[in-house]
């Protein structure tokens, strides 16, 4: 049987620890390793931090819906849905610079690099005024 977590966060960075609690709870139920829990948490944190920080310009309270699904076939899928301004992190986020001297490294761009590196699939669509990101990670036994 698949394990699921569905929850809603408001657009405030103080919600990020709640995200961690949800991912940790799912990880415990699904016997994920600490490394897997960390990586899933990191990817979702980066995407949600982005939405909370830059997605809204009206100063109003908004809600972001999150659905996590852990399949018995060792695969995690996550769907994030927000009503912020249209933003496709795959195309619009800055690219990280991973080489060169300290002075040449820009401060930023690492978040989406983690998403690309740590997830096996990322899909974006804009539907009914919402950004919908679908992510998947294969959880190979460690």
């Amino acid at each position: 049987m698949a394990l699921e977590q569905t929850f809603t966060l408001v657009n405030d960075l103080s919600e990020i620890p709640r995200l961690a609690e949800k991912v940790e709870a799912l990880g415990e139920q699904g016997h994920l390793t600490a490394r897997q829990v960390y990586q899933i948490n990191l990817v979702l944190d980066e995407l949600l931090t982005n939405v909370m920080s830059y997605g809204y310009t009206d100063g109003q309270r908004h809600t972001i819906d999150i659905h996590l699904n852990l399949e018995p076939a060792a695969r995690l899928t996550a769907v994030l849905s927000d009503d912020g301004r249209p933003f496709n992190p795959l195309e619009q986020a800055p690219h990280a610079v991973l080489e060169g001297e300290l002075d040449e490294r820009p401060i930023g761009g690492l978040g989406i690099h983690f998403v690309r590196t740590l997830m096996d699939e990322v899909h974006y669509q804009r539907r009914d005024g919402r950004n919908i990101l679908t992510l998947a990670k294969n959880l190979d036994p460690e």
Binding site: L42, E46, E99, L102, D103, G108
Partner: protein
């Protein structure tokens, strides 16, 4: 997040505990900036750090740049395994001085 500071033979050891994420990074940045004046000699002991995101890495990068500008020294140590892996993915291991233990980091800076 909790932060402890210890002076060891002229080197300041700063040890953050808990989570360094978008929620806690601004506070840690302010704390760190206070210690980066003059010609700082600083060890960041990350033994108690359970989690870091790009917001936290951004603060570490900022600190490293400031230390370099001030011709100071900075070493990091005691990284937990998942955090070390994130440093690796970020390309941080080639620009930051990362040591296994606090003793090694202190010895490096005293040299």
């Amino acid at each position: 997040m909790e932060v402890t500071e210890t002076q060891v033979d002229g080197t300041l050891v700063i040890a953050p505990r808990g989570r360094l994420d978008s929620n806690t990074a601004p506070e840690f940045e302010q704390r760190l900036l206070q210690s980066l004046t003059g010609k700082p000699r600083l060890v960041l002991d990350l033994a108690g750090l359970d989690y870091i995101s790009s917001a936290g890495l951004r603060v570490l990068l900022m600190a490293a740049k400031k230390v370099k500008q001030g011709q100071g020294r900075l070493a990091l140590c005691e990284l937990q395994a998942p955090i070390r892996e994130i440093f690796e993915i970020s390309g941080f291991l080639s620009i930051l001085d990362v040591r296994a233990t606090r003793a090694e980091a202190l010895a490096e800076l005293a040299a």
